[in-house]
Point group: C2
Chain length 339, copies 2
């Protein structure tokens, strides 16, 4: 007997039935193969699939209607790598280099001089104030359309210093599978990141399958103007509007999504309030943390790290029995195979 | 020959094919019956169906991929009635009455006294400053969850003074059909309103089929806190964060949606920049205005109105040949039949 054919027919029939009834596409059929092939079997993988099975089981005590299946993911360190510096910082530095010919004064002005001279010491001395100056110079004074083009250009040309890959290929294969698995199970997947919203949206649809309207992030002010020809445009201003980090994450979720997630994933203390807000809702909830434990394949860091510090949230996860991904133990592969 | 049966079979087959191919559900089949039965035949209805046909025709010069079919709608005066006062103002007044027992000082303090005494003259004298005080008192100092409950309660109990119906039954039947038609044609429908985002989200999914995450509006600041029992909550503060009106609408669209709409509908000068922003994009675009011309079935107002003033946008629509709905001429029915 041809079992494969039988399986395929059941699969197709389940899909058709779901389509006709308007139900989310066939979670039962998905569960028959492994939806998370890059995850090693173990308690974390099990906790994910158990949760999804419970909330999607019609008539079960933990069933959640599809429209309420909101899943939120931090980006830096959760969906893609964040070392040795946040990738948006790398983008800003690359922008300074690209824009330098139009700014001869940068050759003699800090913190720009430090970037052009690759003077790490002077750059460190410029501190947070210097970083804000860099962000203002590279992320403002242009239209949203022009900024978006600059971001897309950068994703195709820039390479990560250690892995020598485009940054958008340093996304986590197991998390890509998790996003796809959740969507196939009727979830709506959102990014809720401290990163800039205009920096993330231009590439996330292609890379994560997450459309711009499901990307929540920090933002600068934007102003509606008309250009010299009377054409309307949106100009990016050098003024911070919203910081989507820490206690800002539940605020951002409320503002942009307007519903409490039932699943949330992060990797640092900046995600703690998002996880607290998520589990404080009624009914079944899942929260997880990615713990970077793999210096060989990626990086190992937590309580002492300047980037992606994971300290309080790690303690709270232990106390409250949240799922903590041990990257070394739980992930079969880290990055997608290069094409 | 049973034409009905044949039609039904084609319809079902088209749906199945679309489901299998992952295509948006069968716009061709929809076009065979009238997707806008409450619209009278004429140039406006024709301009809508022509546009939808063009952008959904695979291989056509104006074809737009489904993920880019973003449609934005103003709410007050475009999707539901806005007379004799914005419904959110009616809500705020009703809240003052409901909250008065906890605020004995309101009996002697303006503008609250004016509402409790139904003293229209004193209320008018309080002006915009008074209105802001009322909004602050009724829209802040409580959690987002509690506010949401108050809104839902109001939609079930309050009645419009002229039509004696719940306010959520004073939505425009032709626009409900338009929203459904667009969604059936692969569009994602958004509200982009000057109204409060937290006032709109609790009922729009049920009434318009538009989920909270697709509702863009004005907002007050919200703060993440933990209550006496350590439970996280979001507290509404008496501070305006964003006014989604006029030039704020393209800004709000950029912030929340991150893509330019290809279709936008409004009814007042507060929608003008949204329409300008929409038509300034490349490719096929549709913008429309609802012109309130029907004093008998609804209201007749435009250039001189305090609520929903339509003056500059009406001029620009004439010059640029935008579609203007003449409510009296173009709509067969205005409100849905009561159940």
């Amino acid at each position: 007997m041809n079992r494969g054919l039988k399986f395929n027919r059941r699969w197709v029939l389940a899909g058709l039935t779901a389509a006709l009834l308007g139900a989310p596409t066939a979670p039962t059929a998905v569960a028959q193969s492994d939806p998370l092939p890059s995850w090693n079997d173990g308690p974390v993988k099990q906790s994910i699939t158990d949760f999804v099975t419970r909330v999607t089981k019609q008539g079960g005590t933990d069933f959640v209607p599809a429209e309420q299946r909101i899943a939120t993911f931090d980006n830096d360190g959760t969906l893609w790598c964040e070392q040795p510096v946040y990738f948006q910082v790398a983008f800003a530095f690359d922008r300074v280099k690209a824009m330098a010919p139009q700014h001869p004064e940068w050759k003699t002005t800090q913190p720009f001089k430090a970037i052009l001279d690759k003077d790490i010491k002077a750059l460190a001395a410029a501190g947070d104030k210097g970083l804000l100056q860099i962000i203002a110079a590279t992320h403002a004074g242009m239209t949203t359309d022009d900024f978006s083009k600059a971001v897309v250009d950068w994703t195709t040309t820039a390479r990560h210093p250690r892995f020598n890959r485009p940054y958008t290929q340093l996304v986590y294969q197991p998390m890509l599978e998790l996003l796809a698995y959740l969507r196939a199970s009727g979830f709506k997947t959102f990014v809720v990141s401290g990163g800039g919203i205009e920096f993330m949206r231009p590439w996330m649809e292609k890379v994560y399958g997450i459309p711009p309207e499901q990307v929540v992030g920090s933002s600068g002010m934007v102003k509606f103007e008309t250009d010299a020809n009377g054409k309307p445009e949106l100009m990016k201003l050098a003024k911070i509007e919203f910081v989507d980090d820490g206690p800002g994450k539940p605020v951002g979720i409320n503002r942009f999504i307007g519903r409490r997630p039932i699943l949330a994933f992060g990797n640092s203390d900046g995600d703690l309030q998002m996880l607290q807000w998520t589990v404080a809702g009624d009914g079944a909830r899942f929260v997880g943390l990615v713990h970077h434990t793999d210096a060989q394949r990626e990086y190992a860091y937590d309580r002492q790290s300047k980037v992606g510090k994971l300290d309080k949230a790690l303690d709270e996860a232990a106390v409250r029995n949240w799922s903590v991904v041990d990257m070394k133990r739980d992930w079969k592969t880290v990055f997608p195979e290069t094409k």
